[in-house]
Amino acid sequence: MTYNLETAEHPEKLRRVAIDPVSRVEGHGKVTILLDDQNKVHQVRLHIVEFRGFEKFIQGRPYWEVPVMVQRLCGICPVSHHLAASKALDVIVGAKRLTPAAEKLRRLMHYGQMLQSHALHFFHLCSPDLLFGFDSDITKRNIVGVAAAHPEIAKRGVLLRKFGQEVIRVTAGKRVHGTGAVPGGMNKSLTIAERDELLKDIYHIVSWSRDAVHLIQKVHIQDPGLYNSFGIFRSNFMSIVGHNGDLDFYHGTLRARDDNGKLIFDDVDYQQYDKYIEEEVRPWSYMKFPFFKSLGREHGWYKVGPLARVQNCDQISTPFAEHERKEFVDYAGGSPMHAPLAYHWTRMIEMLHAAEVIKDLLHDDDLLSDDLMVEGERKMEGVGVIEAPRGTLFHHYRVDENDLITMANLIVSTTNNNQAMNEAVRHVARRYLHGREVTEGLLNHIEVAIRAFDPCLSCATHALGKMPLAVELVDPEGNVVHSLSRS
């Protein structure tokens, strides 16, 4: 756990190669690599080049507007922000426990989103690398190429995503950026017609999700030399876990483990998250670097997302996904798997779990109930945490006595993975680029490592007014002539 390759000693003498933008990810990011005359790698950084500002501009707005406004952070998993904000505001309106109908409807919405987002990531964004090879023909290394070579796989990817989007539509009113959740509950239940429409397809969806797990499992196992070592680094990992240690995307307590799987903390009420997690800012990135306070900056960083969740939970509550989890754990050999490419395998196990949960929920008549709202004693502060497709997502708000937001802090999934992604790309740069002629195929290796984390770079750059900015004027020899900074 070091910051090796983060900052070169003499950058002025080095050649700069940039991957700008990183493709097939959400949002805009770039990677800069500094190389010497022998193509030896001296510095690798994943930069986030967007600047958003949500934490600032929701200040002064009424709290009930927030779940709808903050979801605009993202177009792929807005439901995560919608629900994390709603959960934080449930605390504010004193809704300690939602009605069964409201909680199940929110869960349905969220699991629909997990399904569509995981399908999008695996089939549309990553399958070209995994099916054709990292340095295969670039003109075919995309979803259109997959559709030509493997039409059935591409078709299933599209239909899986479409189904997830339909689940979101019937619960939130729209496929993207709906309004279903409100502080204290939900604004709509399902009609019988809406439920029956989803029931028609859910068995296919579960079956196709199982096939997707088997597809990536086969790809992984066939090439252990690559899949078990590509971009590998060891780290702590964290997620929320549900009742009895179940895998749970909607609600639970915080659990963190070290790189050997030993518990660092467990059963932590996420209202207290800021006692356990701190964020560091570094001058070269708009994205913050969170770490566990107890372990400090150098050793306390961690990863989140499917690879963390599937290995952090004790079991999965649905049978097919639990079977696949056991297969994965057996393959890992009793200790945590840290290989970034194993994210894909665990992501598909999660997609299968989401499909199974949706199937079970669709057989629950609570979804048709109109008992949707509760409220209680008004509070001034609340935290909402959810497992978004990309990992643990924190929303923290303070509200004044006039119902206006006075403070917001968001730690989004991709931010949690910031150091981890940087470590992965540095490992890949060392292993594949060091001392070699740089080609497009080799640079795609860097992108493959980033994509494994399914980063959402637009979500990760939500802050404004907190990031230190540094501007340097450099002459042609690389000497810093003038610098300005704001901290």
């Binding site: 009424p62 507007e65 709808v68 406004m69 009113g173 309004t179 279903g180 119902d403 206006l404």
Partner: protein
């Protein structure tokens, strides 16, 4: 037997003293409008209801119907002017429909859709207009005010309270609250006031109820504004 006039080729009956928009609405002919409300004296300020009467432009909410008039309303030329006016209203305030709780129930948004407004076209003013959240039951979000003065008229003429007023001139005209502090909490305004229910946009809002109506069941999800002539008559 009532008298008639012609609007867009259709013969419309009217009674003595009725304005063009009143007679047209009764006959099921929609004329876009924002500051007009059937329960209040016309204001004639938004100019969206402008029509051509015998070739000359006039506000249909203030012009009385007369026998034999030939009125043009739903024409490309007039709608282009209405669209430009609507675009100006959007850029003068801060109208962020994606996160506005009135989205789907907002007359300005619905009118923009009706007129085929695809973009704001003009540069945004981005005015700084702080919200007034002082009242326990009602939030005032001045960002969305289009100066229709319906709340002014309702509070003065129906509620007898004079809670609201338009202050300033020209481009600096703005809505104010008649209290020394300027805060709604320091007035006798209540949620039962008529003025609490006449805002055509999202300025006067009942607190803690935003987004309670799901997408699909909001006013203009069910039918476009041109089809809600009756709803408007009942006092949107």
């Amino acid at each position: 037997m009532s008298q008639t006039f012609i609007i867009d080729g259709k013969t419309v009956p009217f009674e003595e003293g009725q304005t063009i928009i009143q007679a047209a609405t009764k006959a099921g002919v929609f004329i876009p409008h924002l500051c007009y409300h059937p329960d209040f004296k016309p204001h004639g300020s938004c100019k969206l209801c402008t029509v051509k009467v015998n070739g000359r432009q006039t506000a249909s909410c203030t012009m009385r119907a007369m026998a034999g008039m030939v009125v043009e309303s739903d024409t490309e030329e007039i709608n282009a002017e209405r669209r430009a006016l609507t675009q100006m209203l959007f850029v003068e305030g801060n109208h962020f429909c994606p996160s506005c709780e009135q989205s789907g129930n907002c007359q300005l948004q619905a009118t923009a859709y009706h007129l085929g407004m695809m973009s704001p076209h003009y540069d945004h003013f981005f005015p700084n207009r702080p919200v007034d959240a002082s009242h326990p039951e009602v939030l005032l979000d001045f960002n969305r005010c289009i100066l229709c003065s319906l709340c002014v008229r309702a509070s003065r003429d129906v509620d007898g309270k004079n809670v609201f007023a338009l202050s300033g001139r020209g481009i600096t005209t703005h809505l104010i609250v008649n209290a020394k502090s300027g805060q709604l909490a320091d007035t006798n305004f209540t949620l039962d006031d008529k003025a609490a229910h006449v805002c055509p946009v999202g300025v006067i809002l009942r607190k803690r109820k935003g987004f309670a109506v799901p997408i699909g069941e909001r006013t203009y999800d069910k039918q476009p504004i041109s089809g809600t002539v009756d709803a408007v008559t009942e006092g949107h």
